[in-house]
């Protein structure tokens, strides 16, 4: 059995850790690291029967993830202190939001940049407030800057000059030029306050954003982690609210994200064993390409199937912008090489 399959099975709870041969762990650990999920796996297998050196490595990962999470929430607090005096409200997105809301998928999850969502009408003031509070532009060229401002769903990334941490300030969750336009006003106005006091998307919107980020925006790099987020959060939301799938369906239609959300649900069923309600199990012949892309890693952690990877890369651009604009963009980028 391939290492990536073993990794997925361990996460899904289909396979006992004690059934692995010692050397099977090489590939599992390598893949988990490549997917930035080693601490997630370490939490899943916290009480499993492991070789002593693997148990020690996993304990390191859990401790490190706890520190990283505290640092990520501190960064959110820093953003709050910069924006709150200006009366700018913001909603945490992705990793920091999951941590702020104390969700299961946050345990061990790597959190990169701080992602926040503000109203489009506040974006200029948010930019100024952050610049005044010590964030600065990551050096980029004028075309990239123009591109972000004209066409993207976020400001060009800002980095804090003393803490060296990045912040992405979004005004919606998909590029402006994307074929799909989610209702950004609804995302912000229907946000909820988490236990830690930070605003986060409501459960259905959070799952919509997760699916959009994974399937409508990117090229499925890091897809196993995004899919794990989706699987874990939907499981948690359903446990708290039996009507969750219906609400998710309704909300996905509002944002135009029903295809992405339904596909994410089917993929989480196929890979991680999610149980879906009637009406969500519809057959979809193209799912197989997504499944293959998600598990395209060998036991050295290398991406296999470069053509499939390339195809998903092209697809991500195809979704993001109309063809003539795509041609212009690629031409500019190519000339700058």
């Amino acid at each position: 059995m391939s290492a990536v399959q073993t990794f997925v099975d361990l996460l899904a709870g289909r396979r006992e850790a004690s059934t692995l041969e010692p050397r099977d762990w090489d590939g599992v650990i390598g893949i988990a690291r490549s997917e930035a999920m080693l601490a997630t796996l370490a939490h899943r297998l916290e009480v499993a029967d492991l070789p002593p050196t693997v148990a020690a490595l996993f304990a390191d990962q859990r401790a490190a993830a706890a520190v990283a999470q505290r640092q990520a929430l501190w960064e959110a607090e820093m953003a709050r202190r910069a924006l709150a005096p200006m009366g700018i409200e913001f909603v945490l997105l992705k990793g920091a939001a999951y941590a702020a809301a104390g969700m299961a998928c946050a345990t061990g999850r790597q959190i990169g940049d701080l992602d926040i969502l503000v109203l489009a009408t506040d974006i200029r003031r948010a930019e100024n407030a952050l610049l005044n509070a010590g964030w600065e532009w990551v050096k980029s060229d004028p075309y990239d800057d123009f591109y972000y401002r004209e066409h993207m769903h976020e400001l060009p990334p800002l980095i804090h000059k003393s803490r060296d941490r990045m912040i992405d300030v979004h005004h919606t969750i998909l590029p402006r030029t994307h074929r799909i336009t989610p209702d950004a006003l609804a995302l912000v106005s229907d946000a909820v306050t988490s236990a830690s006091g930070f605003a986060v998307l409501n459960p259905a919107d959070m799952a919509c954003h997760c699916a959009a980020h994974m399937l409508a925006d990117g090229d499925l790099q890091g897809g196993l982690r995004n899919l794990w987020d989706f699987h874990s959060m939907t499981w948690e939301f359903v446990a708290a609210n039996r009507g969750f799938w219906d609400q998710l369906g309704a909300r996905a239609r509002l944002h135009g994200l029903q295809d992405a959300v339904q596909r994410a649900a089917r993929l989480s069923r196929d890979l991680y064993g999610a149980v879906l309600p009637a009406g969500w199990n519809g057959p979809e012949t193209t799912d197989c390409w997504f499944r293959q892309r998600l598990v395209a890693r060998d036991d050295w952690g290398r991406v296999t199937r470069p053509l499939l990877e390339q195809a998903f890369y092209i697809r991500s651009h195809w979704l993001r912008m109309p063809p003539t604009m795509l041609a212009q963009h690629l031409w500019t980028k190519w000339r700058k090489r």
Partner: protein, 288 residues
């Protein structure tokens, strides 16, 4: 991958894969006397690979990959494959290891107590450690020293010592040629030749040592010793640590304790013999 090897250095177990046989063969020669545990799962993965299939043969160039990668890192020619492997191993430890606080520092030990030397590349910390390790010191490592966050002990990372430029002849004159790796000339870091640590240093690689003296050597200039305050030592070591920030409070506590409990000095020296004499002098005072 086509060729691979497993290497244990201190607490870290590496698996190194390569598209070519040469780097693996060179590693085998350097690490043949290290303890082998074929069944132990690896903590870290290093990959040496050709960016395009034909580049395995046509102007072969070695890209360094693994669990952690540096974007835009330049590849090395195949003749420097061993250096690529060394850089790959360092990278995985520097970016991935969390069990201990990592100091970019060399260390030697005597009577269960450690002398830790931190400095920029070119400060002579590797050369001093290598030369001391040929005397009555145990070489703990020339690149990383690991500090145990709970107890404060130093742990060894005795990889093959990376000798550079003038240090090569200086050390080669004193050791058995069988303990030296191939000479690599004209690398981005100058000439490089590896030294296999003495058998006793390898055998003792899991034995902790109590930090007793912190030195910040500087090669060149008049012989001088300058006592260093806790604050300066602390700041210098935060810069010398690759995971101080990632360890959070545990890193702060470990580093605070290290600089509070360990006397620190800046040392300038014009040549190795003087450097060693100054080290021995400070040790005699510190280790009283």
């Amino acid at each position: 991958m086509r060729h691979s090897i497993r290497i244990a250095v201190g607490p870290v177990h590496f698996r190194i894969g390569s598209d070519w046989t040469q780097p693996i063969a060179a590693l085998k020669q350097l690490y043949v006397s290290y303890p082998q545990d074929e069944a132990r799962p690896a903590d870290a993965t290093v990959r040496l690979f050709a960016a395009r299939p034909w580049r395995r043969w046509v102007r072969p160039s070695v890209h360094i990959g693994g669990d952690f990668v540096v974007p835009d890192a330049l590849p090395l020619p195949l003749s420097m494959g061993l250096l690529a492997a060394e850089m790959g191993m360092n990278l995985q430890v520097a970016l991935g290891w969390r069990r201990h606080m990592l100091l970019h520092a060399s260390a030697v030990a005597r009577d269960g107590r450690a002398l830790i030397m931190s400095g920029e590349s070119g400060s002579g910390k590797s050369t001093l450690a290598a030369l001391l390790g040929e005397g009555d010191w145990r070489l703990m490592g020339d690149e990383f020293t690991l500090i145990e966050p709970e107890g404060g002990d130093a742990l060894a990372f005795p990889r093959a010592v990376s000798l550079k430029n003038e240090a090569i002849a200086e050390v080669a004159a004193r050791v058995d040629a069988a303990r030296l790796g191939p000479l690599m000339t004209g690398t981005p870091k100058g000439d490089i030749r590896h030294l296999i640590p003495r058998a006793d240093a390898i055998a003792a690689m899991h034995e902790p040592a109590r930090p007793a003296l912190l030195l910040f050597p500087r090669f060149g200039g008049e012989a001088a010793i300058e006592s260093m305050g806790e604050g300066e030592a602390f700041v210098r070591l935060t810069e010398a640590s690759t995971n101080y920030v990632a360890l959070g409070e545990a890193g702060f506590a470990a580093l605070t304790r290290l600089v509070r409990e360990t006397p620190a000095f800046g040392v300038s020296y014009p040549d190795s013999a003087t450097g060693i004499a100054l080290v021995e002098q400070l040790w005699a005072e510190a280790a009283k």
